[in-house]
């Protein structure tokens, strides 16, 4: 007898196969794109949903946690579109709206000089030169089941081109609007190419115009050209329990470029954000920061792969978590310094504040250094609020819940203040304040 272990497919995996089989004919692109989709899905299907025995998914066992695969969101109804048009009118200038993962040019305003935007579906359909290559290159960097699934099912997204030397005064916003009436899935992929010496601020946010808990698998690929400066912010906030958010972020930083990214994660059910950062040219700077605020049984995983492939680059990674009730935070950070990448200066720090005994934090920083002349360090802390600080505030008259909220707000805002753009700082601070206020309200309720 031979014992061959073939793991049986889960219901979600089976459903994904069906979704791909029935959706692929209608997805944009032909020829080479179709081939890429088929290969990507095959790669996904070989391993199935990632699970705890896959090292980078150890703390987020998607195979066990993803019970079902939702159908792809249908095109929005006329009423939904009308409602959305109203909501979109309140968006800041330079907003690019994706409706359930599909770019809605009519909801997006006029763009400033130096920026060109098209939909990914148009770029794929017309086989625009370079598009496939940049997708494939991104895929090679991020060898991961969820990225493969995204490549197979990517339906649309935005392709943003910032001309070399262009300098945008106001931020550009990518707005993810979810409008499907029934819980649905969205697969989007966006490409941002920032020309040499250009200057861009890119903000990603959500517009929950009545959508239900759903599943998203988004990928964003940012190419930062030589000497360019890019500030990126992402608000991954979702108050609907039971949602599944899979977010892949790929950034390639060219020589002497500066890249800075901040993400705020709150709410929702299960969130996995994976960031692949490549220092491709010398003397670049790249910072990744993030704050996750979790309660209930929320689970948020941020996993970084930072690769230094060039000399003299400075990498900073700082992530903070506030974990309440039975929530789970995951931080994994792998920094690889390749043999040639001398004079690399890399630092990584993960801090968690635990507000409940039932909350869990899993931290795993990892360094793989193959060059000798580097400065690299990492650290992780995890604990309650500082008792001396609390006491000090209380002696000044702040009741314990207020003292606690002030310290928590400060913990989050310290990273937010580094965004360096007043409106965005104010917007992200407001989201933190809203989360704390919601927490305070539910605490009062549970005491009453």
């Amino acid at each position: 007898m031979t014992a061959q272990i073939i793991p049986s497919r889960t219901a979600a995996e089976a459903a994904l196969a069906e979704i791909f089989a029935s959706a692929k004919a209608g997805l944009p692109g032909s020829g080479a794109v179709e081939k890429l989709r088929e290969e990507s899905f095959a790669a996904f299907a070989r391993g199935g949903l990632p699970h705890r025995r896959i090292e980078s998914w150890h703390y987020t066992d998607l195979r066990a946690l993803m019970r079902e695969a939702l159908p792809i969101a249908p095109a929005p109804t006329r009423e939904r579109r009308a409602a959305l048009r109203k909501a979109a009118a309140a968006l800041p200038a330079n907003s690019l709206v994706l409706v359930d993962g599909v770019f809605a040019a009519e909801l997006s305003g006029k763009l400033p000089e130096g920026v060109k935007v098209t939909s990914l579906s148009a770029a794929l359909a017309e086989d625009r030169p370079g598009i496939l290559e940049s997708l494939a290159a991104a895929w090679a960097e991020a060898d991961d089941a969820i990225v493969s699934l995204n490549a197979a099912l990517m339906r649309d997204g935005v392709v943003i081109d910032v001309a070399p030397g262009a300098s945008l005064a106001a931020p550009l916003h990518i707005v993810y609007a979810s409008v499907a009436e029934k819980p649905a899935a969205r697969f989007s992929r966006s490409l941002v190419k920032v020309g040499a010496g250009a200057c861009l601020r890119l903000n990603e946010m959500s517009l929950g115009a009545g959508g239900r808990a759903g599943q998203t698998n988004n990928a964003l690929i940012v190419d930062v050209g030589e000497g360019a400066e890019v500030g990126h912010t992402l608000s991954l906030t979702d108050t609907r329990p039971g949602s599944l958010r899979l977010e892949t972020f790929l950034v390639r930083v060219a020589a002497r470029a500066k890249f800075d990214s901040f993400a705020l994660v709150t709410g929702g059910g299960l969130m996995r954000r994976q960031i692949f950062k490549l220092f491709a040219g010398p003397d670049a700077k790249g910072t990744l920061r993030g704050v996750s605020l979790l309660r209930g049984r929320e689970h948020a995983d941020t996993t970084l792969f930072v690769r230094h492939a060039a000399t003299g680059c400075e990498g900073r990674q700082a992530f903070r978590y506030i974990l309440d009730e039975e929530s789970t935070g995951v931080f994994q950070g792998k920094v690889v310094v390749e043999p040639g990448a001398q004079k690399t200066d890399g630092k990584m720090l993960a801090k968690a504040i635990m507000l409940s005994d039932a909350a869990t934090m899993n931290s795993r920083p990892e360094l793989e250094i193959f060059a000798d002349d580097v400065i690299c360090g990492h650290g992780a802390t995890c604990g309650g609020l500082n008792a001396d600080q609390l006491f000090y505030l209380e002696t000044r008259g702040l009741p314990p819940p207020e003292a606690e909220a002030l310290l928590l707000e400060a913990f989050a805002n310290e990273l937010i203040d580094d965004i360096g753009h007043a409106d965005l700082v104010a917007a992200y601070r407001a989201e933190v304040a809203a989360w704390l206020a919601a927490r305070a309200r539910s605490e009062t309720r549970s005491v009453a």
Partner: protein, 249 residues
């Protein structure tokens, strides 16, 4: 105004304060001196409401009310203030945000209205000017990156702003330069009034030349072993604490 009766306090099973009795009348400035480790900061913390200490018996009465049953913020709202021996750094909390939150929290507890922003700014400016706190310092996170002396001045500035009824100063003069001692002393003196009491803990008679106390108490071994007038401070400077060592044991 403040009356401590038969206070016994332990930490980690070790007795620190022993049958301590002390009275400070309204309008009085009482100084406490005593050797290192005699329990002065412990007394200050217990009055302010720090959790770590185990109060075995006794009472701390503020105008007849036992504050030991109140939380630290409630004690603050009743008018108790502690200037810390080591003021705490709080990264990320803007000093102005903190000052406003503290002032309004106390007012709310007392059933008073929130201060308007201009009124708040006016008061901050007044207190800041009095203690030579530069506007630049107020823009930083609370106590972060402040020098030792700046932190002490910031604590006294908070006192000036919060206008407590009873203030405890735990070695506020330690680490202050000569000018800063005078600035802090002027700040305290400006607040002296018939309704307000002070407990000034110090190692240096020099401070008591600026803030002239009504009474001086010697603390040793967790109790008050001697009390007298302001001349006691200079006497201690000559004699040291040797003669109290056996009383303390």
């Amino acid at each position: 105004m403040l009356e401590i009766k038969n206070l016994n306090v332990a930490i980690g099973g070790r007795r620190i304060l022993n049958d301590l009795d002390l009275k400070v009348a309204a309008g009085e400035v009482a100084a406490i001196m005593g050797p290192n480790g005699s329990g002065k900061s412990t007394l200050a913390y217990v009055i302010a409401g720090k959790e770590d200490y185990e109060v075995l018996s006794g009472e701390v009465l503020l105008d007849g009310e036992n504050v030991l049953e109140l939380s630290p913020d409630e004690r603050a709202a009743k008018g108790l203030f502690l200037a810390f021996q080591y003021p705490v750094e709080i990264p990320g909390v803007a000093t102005m945000t903190f000052l406003k939150a503290a002032l309004n929290a106390q007012r709310k507890q007392r059933g008073e209205e929130e201060l308007s922003i201009p009124e708040f700014m006016k008061r901050v400016k007044k207190a800041g000017d009095m203690l030579d706190i530069k506007p630049e310092m107020l823009r930083r996170a609370l106590n972060v990156g402040f020098s030792g002396g700046e932190k002490k001045r910031m604590d006294i500035m908070q006192m000036a702003l919060l206008e407590p009824r009873f203030a405890i100063l735990d070695e506020t003069d330690s680490g202050l330069d000569i000018d800063a001692v005078r600035i802090v002393a002027d700040g305290v003196n400006a607040l002296r009034s018939r309704q307000r009491g002070f407990l000034v803990i110090t190692h240096y008679p020099r401070l008591l030349e600026h803030i002239v106390p009504d009474t001086v108490h010697v603390m040793a071994g967790g109790r008050i072993v001697r009390s007298g007038g302001k001349e006691l401070a200079s006497e201690l400077e000559r004699t040291g604490y040797r003669e109290y060592a056996e009383e303390a044991a």
